[in-house]
């Protein structure tokens, strides 16, 4: 057992003294040499950073058939990645409700699933719309109706 330990210790010692960064040397005979400069992304957590900006409240004026909205994506991701944003009603379907739960049905149009074209974008804009049929408008009591849409972002492969 002592022999084994001593052997291992010797090996470890050797490792320790090994020169960590091989350096090149120029002198009168070797007058030129190269060094590599590179970036290090080890400090980057995950796939990088991004921001999706979307309206906190989407105001729709009474009797407007189509109201356009947009969300924007800025990202700084690893090569080959992109950001996907999904706009959906994760609750009760596309119905706005008033205080007494009367419904005002609407539909979503435009880019409800948006994906950036590449890993680095600045204010990439995606348009979507909320459409309310005129018949729906006509049949709705004047009131405050609201619904909740959920925006979800994920890092996907470009």
């Amino acid at each position: 057992m002592k022999k084994v330990i001593s052997l291992v210790m010797a090996l470890v010692m050797m490792m320790a003294i090994m020169v960590p960064a091989f350096a090149a040397e120029l002198n009168a005979t070797t007058q030129s040499g190269t060094a590599t400069v590179q970036t290090d992304t080890s400090a980057i957590t995950g796939d990088g950073t991004y921001t999706v900006t979307y309206p906190a409240t989407m105001n729709i004026v009474w009797s407007t058939a189509t109201t356009n909205f947009e969300y924007k994506v800025s990202s700084n991701l690893r090569t080959g990645k992109a950001i996907q944003v999904v706009v959906a009603d994760t609750g009760d379907g596309l119905n706005m409700l008033n205080a007494s739960n009367a419904t005002l049905a609407y539909t979503l149009g435009g880019t409800t699933t948006g994906k950036t074209t590449g890993p680095v974008v600045t204010d990439a804009t995606f348009n979507y719309s909320i459409n309310v049929d005129s018949a729906v408008w006509a049949a709705a009591a004047i009131d405050t109706y609201s619904d909740t849409l959920t925006f979800t972002s994920t890092v996907v492969d470009a």
């Binding site: 999706v52 906190a56 009474w62 709705a140 009591a141 004047i142 405050t144 609201s146 909740t148 925006f151």
Partner: protein
């Protein structure tokens, strides 16, 4: 001092003009967020709109003791409001000689829409004339008036 006030006022004005379109954000730490779809009808439409279609005229046949009529309500008003129509006799049946036959709006002097949004919702009313009135009346053309008034009433 005036300068300060003017600057402050200007700022306040600016605030008012700014469209309060607050934005929310998602990022690596917050990958999902909610947004409210909001129709603020009351702000947009206020009380809303309604109309009452009343009969052009109510033609009686000599001796009718009751005469039914109909009016229609169309409305799109606030949820908790209803269109309320009130009928009233404005003028008895009167002939050229200013002689009168008395009549009355018998029932349903008021009609209330069934809901905030109705479309040509029909409401009936009845006029009554006593037989004695007919008996005491000289034969002529008589014309009276009934008035319809509409208002928003709470549901």
């Amino acid at each position: 001092m005036k300068k300060v006030i003017s600057v402050v006022l200007a700022l306040v004005m600016m605030m008012a003009v700014m469209v309060p379109a607050f934005a929310a954000t998602l990022d690596v730490n917050t990958q999902s967020g909610n947004s409210t779809v909001l129709v603020d009808g009351i702000t947009d439409k206020g009380d809303g709109t309604y109309s009452v279609e009343i009969p052009a005229s109510v033609d009686l046949i000599w001796g009718d003791t009751t005469k039914a009529g109909e009016y229609k309500i169309t409305s799109q008003v606030q949820t908790d409001k209803r269109v309320k129509v009130t009928l009233a006799k404005a003028k008895d049946l009167t002939n050229a000689a200013n002689e009168t036959i008395e009549f009355a709006v018998a029932d349903a002097t008021t009609g209330i829409a069934n809901s905030a949004v109705v479309n040509n919702e029909a409401h009936t009313f009845n006029l009554t004339i006593d037989a004695s009135e007919w008996a005491a009346a000289s034969i002529a053309t008589y014309e009276g008036t009934i008035t319809f008034t509409a208002e928003l009433a709470d549901a």
